[in-house]
């Protein structure tokens, strides 16, 4: 079963899976408790605009995605804090327009046929070592920021108004969260693709929330679940020659339904 570890691409894939799961576990927990899963989906899809632009201008597609995702996350931050009642509509518009822009940019790129699928469904098996070197500092940045301001992030997520009243700069922290979401989303696109980001960001925290008593515990359990789902999905993908992004998500989805079912049985029993 462990024979697949002999390949370098597999070792890289596992490392990438672990690093992405850490970012997703921490940021995903904040996304779930702040009820902005939809925004993370919007950022992921709009990021395709950056991927297309990068191909058109000839630089790294993930750099393009990161640049676009950060810009879009700030716009969504403004929209969701100032125009709450129509935020979902505007997020949807950015979601669609970003993707459309990406497709048009790729169309206009001469003589280059982009493998669209690898961005839509991820390509964890082709992650080069240099990408992993990029992921380490991004994980560290997220880890350090969230630990340093853990109590502020908790307060803002639980009760934004109270946090404001005691003098916490709620908006500033919200935008920092948006920026970190963009970073986590772009990392996750590498692993499961932009269509499936929303699942890897939300499923582990959703399961973890039920069994934990603090946001910190929730983040920790989410990270472990993320690693577990990624590794099992990766193995299934290798063993049965299936698309890795999809198997990772199906493993997560199976866990989601099992956890949900167990919760219902527990409720009925008590």
């Amino acid at each position: 079963m462990l024979d697949f570890l002999q390949f370098e691409f597999m070792r890289n894939a596992i490392l990438a899976g672990v690093l992405v799961s850490i970012a997703c576990g921490i940021i995903g927990s904040l996304i779930v408790v702040n009820r902005i899963v939809f925004i993370s989906g919007g950022i992921a899809h709009a990021a395709y605009g950056g991927i297309g632009l990068a191909f058109f201008l000839g630089f790294s597609p993930y750099l393009g995605a990161a640049f676009f995702a950060l810009a879009v996350s700030m716009v969504m931050g403004i929209v969701s804090s100032n125009r709450k009642h129509r935020a979902d509509t505007i997020v949807s518009v950015l979601w669609a327009v970003g993707m459309a822009l990406g497709i048009v940019f790729v169309d206009m790129t001469p003589g280059y046929n982009v493998d669209l699928m690898s961005f839509l469904f991820g390509s964890i098996l082709t992650v080069p070592g240099t990408d992993i070197l990029f992921m380490v500092p991004l994980d560290l940045f997220i880890l350090i920021t969230v630990s340093a301001f853990y109590k502020e992030f908790t307060a803002i997520s639980y009760d934004e108004e109270f946090a404001f009243v005691v003098g916490i700069p709620v908006k500033l922290f919200y935008f920092v969260l948006m920026g970190m979401t963009a970073i986590a989303v772009v990392m996750t696109i590498r692993v499961v693709g932009l269509i499936l980001v929303i699942a890897l960001v939300s499923i582990p925290p959703y399961i973890a929330e039920k069994y934990t008593r603090s946001l910190g515990e929730m983040m920790l359990v989410s990270c472990f679940l993320g690693v577990l789902f990624t590794l099992v999905g990766l193995w299934l993908s290798y063993r049965y020659d299936l698309t890795s992004g999809a198997t990772i998500i199906l493993v997560s989805g199976a866990a989601f339904f099992i956890s949900h079912g167990l919760g219902m049985i527990r409720k009925a029993g008590s």
Binding site: F149, A155, Y158, F162, F164, G167, R213, S214
Partner: protein
């Protein structure tokens, strides 16, 4: 001379073009115990949010303890109306109460031992210490309310604001709460929005009736009969024992 706890001058506020409050002017002295009454949708919560700086007036000025609401933040405590928010959030009673020890000047620093012991005392005061490690979602409405009061008091406020703390809680809690607040009022100015005129009568020192405009009744003993007449607010109101009709004022616009 102490500055007034609250001073509002010609304050108006509109939500998306719809006027909620208009030309509100009043002064509340320090050490007062103000009950805010008024029908649903009359702008009570808006008035409170203007005082604590959650909303900014379209017109007029708000001063809290002689400062702008923004600068007075570290001197006030706030118990929000909806304590039923986020009940699936993974957080313990103790960690919620600890939020009261947050402040702008201590961002990025961990809670100290002093913060923790202070919060422990407050949770004991409100009778919730034995639930300190319980997830907030497992508590009843009244219990959650107690936790939120402890959290507000953890800021060591000079003024405590409470937005309908007795909505959806057991009657027993109501009586307890007002006894608790009466005691607290010896050192802290209290502003409370409530529907419970019965309990209000024996505890508050002043009453403000809100319905787009504001009518302020300062000092003096407020008898149960007076409040009974004051409610429903838009029809009849009283001032210092003399019933009078205020319908015309309320329906001016």
């Amino acid at each position: 001379m102490n500055p007034p706890a609250i001073e509002m001058k010609d304050v108006s506020f509109a939500y998306e073009g719809k006027t909620v409050l208009e030309d509100v002017t009043f002064r509340l002295g320090q050490g007062d115990f103000l009950g805010i009454i008024g029908p649903n949708g009359s702008g009570k919560t808006t008035l409170l949010k203007l005082m604590i700086g959650l909303l900014k007036p379209d017109k007029g000025t708000v001063k809290v303890l002689g400062e702008t609401p923004r600068d007075a933040k570290r001197r006030i405590g706030y118990v929000p109306q909806n304590v039923g928010i986020n009940i699936s959030f993974p957080i313990s009673v103790f960690d919620i109460a600890l939020m009261g020890r947050l402040s702008r000047s201590r961002i990025g620093r961990w809670f100290s031992r002093k913060d923790r012991s202070q919060v422990e005392e407050l949770l004991k005061d409100v009778g919730m210490w034995k639930y300190a490690q319980t997830p907030i979602g497992k508590l009843s409405g009244g219990q959650r309310q107690r936790v939120f009061i402890a959290r507000a008091l953890a800021t060591s406020p000079e003024i405590l604001f409470l937005d309908e703390p007795t909505a959806n809680v057991d009657p027993e809690f109501e009586t307890d709460l007002f006894e608790f607040l009466k005691d607290l009022n010896k050192t802290v100015t209290i502003v409370i929005i409530t529907h419970d005129i019965g309990v209000l009568s024996s505890h508050v020192k002043s009453i403000a009736c809100v319905n787009r405009n504001l009518i302020f009744h300062e000092g003096g003993k407020v008898t149960p009969e007076m409040i009974k007449m004051a409610y429903p607010c838009p029809v009849d109101l009283i001032a210092h024992g003399m019933p009078h009709r205020v319908l015309s004022i309320h329906e001016e616009r």
